[in-house]
């Protein structure tokens, strides 16, 4: 505070008359400090910090994919931006509200210079947001499960949004000097950009890119080569828009010099350039790459051998092979017969043909002993993959596993869950309706499986027993338990469960 005051004095003192640059800077620093200490801005910053911590500590975020994590930094700064809009507008209108415009009018600094200082005063808040974004992304990148690469152009969107909104507050103060204007604009922006009432919100390309933040968060992360997001052009568009708004505000304040006009023209050109290029849609090369990665992933993938299985993954995901191998090893250790040492192929697949926000399910593979793994990991994805491995070991391939409707389902679910900590909770997680009784759909990386009420009861009884005892019975009767003729009642009998199990009838 004192240091700032000293600094201000030092910078203003040598300012020669007619060269108000130092004075503009000093005023900008003063206004920046006031802006940072305004209650809405402080609230927004506190909320932003809390949001970063809450979001990054979520268990489903333990395995971030960095080309998605960079985009995930963009939503939080919107609130800071709205607070910046209010605060900057408030500061611009202060001299009018307090009726000091007449006093300021006789000073060396013209209104244009003062407007420039107000616009500059948003920069420190944008830098603070940049620090927040950097902290959030670094935190994600240092998580042990992080894979992929982030993009700087996606990361600057948050700070640029804050800058743009703040500068729009300054411009609004010059265009409509009314106290109600900024709150109304905040309501409109909130509705458009946070409430998703923007007419093109949710689209992947085209006019949706005129909004400051285009999140298009899909359920399955894409390899970074398939994203096809014009992030660089969008950053240019945002920067150009912020510059245009600032220069327009300066121009409206009476500083109609040749320099300002030329700069405004340049900024407008940048904005139009960025704005036009970013809306030109997904490039044909990206569409082709998406097609190739979805239909023939083996052309892009790298394979490694771990234990009894080969793992083929997109190059960015190879650090995750260890996690997959751990699941396969645990499931296979419980299996008996030939399945115990069976060579598996774990292939990573992604359905990229329907765009980033498409949530089309992967078709089950018909290749024998091939297991599909998706691009997301952590949370429910782990028990789902475990179920897929168990189902392929028992049924032979994923297509056949999806049609299981007999006693083999008991073996599949027990293999899938018995090695996990708190298997009942995991069972609840993989069932679509989160139930523990009755029939249910069981989620897997490709098509789901089905469990009848009887199978659920038998599996739960088995999970309550010590797993070594059940494992011995499973291994001893492996051939019978995995034969297509085994009914659930027979499987229960073999495994020593005395439960009344009806006939196997799966929901149509």
């Amino acid at each position: 505070m004192t240091a700032l005051a000293t600094e201000t004095r030092r910078t203003t003192a040598p300012a020669a008359p007619g060269n108000p640059r130092a004075a503009v800077l000093a005023l900008a620093l003063f206004e920046a400090r006031r802006l940072l200490l305004r209650l809405p801005v402080l609230l927004a910053l506190a909320g932003y910090a809390a949001w970063i911590v809450w979001r990054t500590l979520q268990p489903w975020d333990d395995y971030p994919v960095l080309q998605d994590a960079d985009r995930a930094t963009q939503g939080g700064p919107l609130f800071v931006g709205l607070a910046a809009l209010l605060g900057a507008n408030h500061a611009v209108l202060r001299s009018r509200r307090r009726d000091t415009e007449r006093h300021l009018g006789v000073l060396v600094l013209s209104q244009g210079h003062r407007t420039a200082a107000h616009a500059l005063s948003v920069v420190p808040l944008a830098l603070l947001t940049a620090a927040g974004v950097a902290a959030q992304f670094t935190w994600e990148a240092f998580k042990p499960g992080a894979v992929g690469t982030g993009s700087a152009a996606e990361l600057v969107v948050g700070p640029l949004t804050v800058l743009l909104f703040g500068v729009l507050g300054v411009l609004l103060g010059r265009l409509a000097p009314s106290a109600v204007a900024a709150p109304l604009l905040v309501v409109v922006f909130f509705l458009l950009f946070v409430g998703a009432a923007f007419p093109f919100a949710g689209e992947e390309s085209g006019a949706a890119w005129f909004a400051p933040v285009v999140s298009a968060a899909g359920t399955h992360p894409f390899p970074s080569g398939l994203l096809g997001r014009p992030a660089g052009w969008h950053a240019l568009y945002l920067a150009g828009l912020a510059l245009t708004a600032a220069l327009l505000a300066v121009l409206l304040s009476g500083a109609r010099t040749r320099t300002v006009q030329a700069a405004l023209a340049a900024a407008l050109t940048l904005t139009v350039l960025g704005g036009v290029v970013q809306t030109s849609g997904v490039p044909a090369a990206t569409t082709a790459a998406r097609q190739r990665a979805s239909v023939t992933p083996e052309k892009d993938q790298r394979c490694v051998r771990r234990g009894t299985a080969d793992y083929c993954a997109f190059p960015e995901w190879t650090p995750r092979v260890g996690d997959w191998a751990r699941v396969v090893r645990r499931v296979q250790a419980l299996a008996g017969g030939t399945a115990h040492g069976r060579r598996l192929l774990v292939r990573q697949r992604v359905e990229a043909r329907y765009g980033l926000d498409g949530d089309a399910a992967l078709a089950p593979s018909t290749t024998p002993y091939q297991v599909t793994v998706g691009t997301a990991w952590g949370g429910n994805r782990i028990p789902e993959f475990s179920t897929a491995v168990a189902a392929v070991l028992v049924a032979g391939d994923e297509k056949a596993a999806g049609e299981l409707c007999d006693g083999r389902m008991v073996t599949v679910m027990w293999l899938s869950l018995a090695w996990q900590s708190d298997p009942e909770a995991r069972l609840r997680n993989v069932r679509l309706d989160d139930s523990l009784t009755g029939s249910a759909v069981v989620l897997a990386p490709t098509e789901p499986l089905t469990m009848t009420a009887g199978q659920t009861e038998v599996v739960r009884t088995l999970l309550d027993r010590p797993s070594y005892g059940v494992a011995a019975r499973v291994k001893a009767h492996w051939t019978e338990l995995t034969s297509p003729q085994v009914t659930t009642a027979r499987a229960a009998e073999i495994l020593g469960v005395h439960a009344k199990v009806g006939a196997d009838r799966c929901a149509e």
Binding site: P40, A181, P183, F190
Partner: protein, 216 residues
């Protein structure tokens, strides 16, 4: 007193912040009207969000209703602030009702949420805005307390959906089974805002001394 009120109607009508209210009302009408004009068919949730935003925009205008540049000179007049504030509210109420009817008619019919319940939400929001303004008048000496009142209302409205706990639901979908419960809460909010507004209607006499610390 009875003869004074009719005499006050015209001057008070003229001092109402019509431009502010007009701007706020126009933003509300545009928020609901533009999607309709563009031929879009917003889903029920978006339609409700649009109506809520329109109500919030108008409430932000209402927060400026008690702005009175001549406050320091009107303090000692015999017709108390309570009567003048009540008159302001009474004058603006029919305009607000007309405006809200227009907004409801503009909202696409197929996806319009239950009218009574949304009107209750809008009424509670406007009452909160007016309560914020009367509290601001009561607690400060400022002749124009509208801006802080509007900022407080705006911050509350934007943060409430994030902060309000799930046990005291407020912002729900019409298809949500808790819709009725949420509207009981809105009714409580309306009642609370009206109570606070009535309690703070009067001039804060005794504490209010705009010239006490100035040398005469």
């Amino acid at each position: 007193m009875r003869g004074v009120i009719p005499a006050l109607v015209v001057p008070v009508w003229r001092t109402l912040p019509w431009r502010t209210l007009g701007a706020a009302g126009a933003v509300g009408l545009l928020a609901v009207g533009l999607p309709r004009l563009s031929g879009a068919h917003p889903d029920p949730w978006t339609a409700l969000a649009l109506l809520r935003s329109a109500a919030l925009a108008f409430a932000l205008g209402l927060a400026f209703l008690l702005d009175d540049p001549a406050r320091h000179t009107t303090t000692p007049v015999p017709t108390g602030r309570a009567a003048r504030t009540a008159l302001r509210v009474a004058l603006v109420a029919p305009v607000a009702a007309l405006w809200w009817t227009a907004v409801l008619l503009l909202a696409p019919g197929a996806h319009r949420p239950p009218t009574g319940a949304v009107t209750l939400e809008a009424g509670a929001t406007c009452a909160l805005a007016l309560a914020a303004a009367t509290v601001a008048v009561h607690r400060t000496d400022a002749p124009r307390p509208g801006r802080p009142a509007a900022t407080a209302l705006l911050a509350t409205a934007l943060l409430a959906p994030l902060v309000v706990s799930d046990r005291w639901v407020l912002f729900v979908d019409p298809r949500d089974p808790r819709w009725a419960t949420a509207h009981e809460h809105w009714a409580w909010l309306l009642a609370g805002a009206v109570t606070v507004g009535c309690l703070t209607l009067g001039e804060p006499l005794g504490r209010f001394r705009p010239t006490a610390d100035r040398p005469t």
